[in-house]
Subunit: 117 residues, 2 copies
Amino acid sequence: MKRSNPEFLNGVPELLILRLLAERPMHGYDLVQSIRRASNEELAFGEGCIYPLLHKLEASGHLSSRREKLDGRSRVVYRVTARGQSRLVETWSEWRRVVQAVNQAIGGAGHACPASA
Amino acid sequence: MKRSNPEFLNGVPELLILRLLAERPMHGYDLVQSIRRASNEELAFGEGCIYPLLHKLEASGHLSSRREKLDGRSRVVYRVTARGQSRLVETWSEWRRVVQAVNQAIGGAGHACPASA
DNA sequence: ATAGATACCTCAAGGTTCGAGGTATGTCAA
DNA sequence: TTGACATACCTCGAACCTTGAGGTATCTAT
């Protein structure tokens, strides 16, 4: 049951976009699907989230794009800029910092574990 | 540099509140400080975030509260209800699911690691 | 009475993702 | 040629969350 502004997902699309595009340039539609595949179908972000983010990241100089023709289809392919690489480093570090801190706080609070999902 | 709606923190205050209160009942002010301590000063949420959340969780039946007098001071002490325990299980599971999925997507995308912070 | 510490409260602002609704461009079948 | 379908892209209002600012209340000590 999803809701707007879901738990724990803030900033995740941006991190994943930067990470996956650092691996290889892709167009928007492919990116949506790659995120799903890369997370074993656990994470799925709609186009309504991904495209505005791609535009935003391009406007801020973290991504660059070019319309390319591949297999008879026209696509807008995005690549990470040097600035985007720096942003990836920051974001990835922040992710790890938060995860570590939360797990520390949860684990450090005692020994009880919730039942597995 | 903090900003409203910061990265990766959505839902974290609620998870930590439930977890720490499940460990022992506390008043709001103590909770703010306990979260900071439990995370080795890595996470800090202002009262402006914690109190409205405590009120919201109490309104929804996840927490109960009682004004108590301790050491000459009056405090509102919160406890987790059975309903709140269930919510903790859900939230904790969701946290673990998201962390696992993101790490899978990030790690699975290739072998490059960002420089350590 | 005032200062300081402890304890609690409220709210506007800014930003994010969801989901809905749409457009555009190719291929293929009828 | 037209329509269906798949691929590809776009926009926007709604809902929601945390930040940070500004405040109130209650205690002790001077």
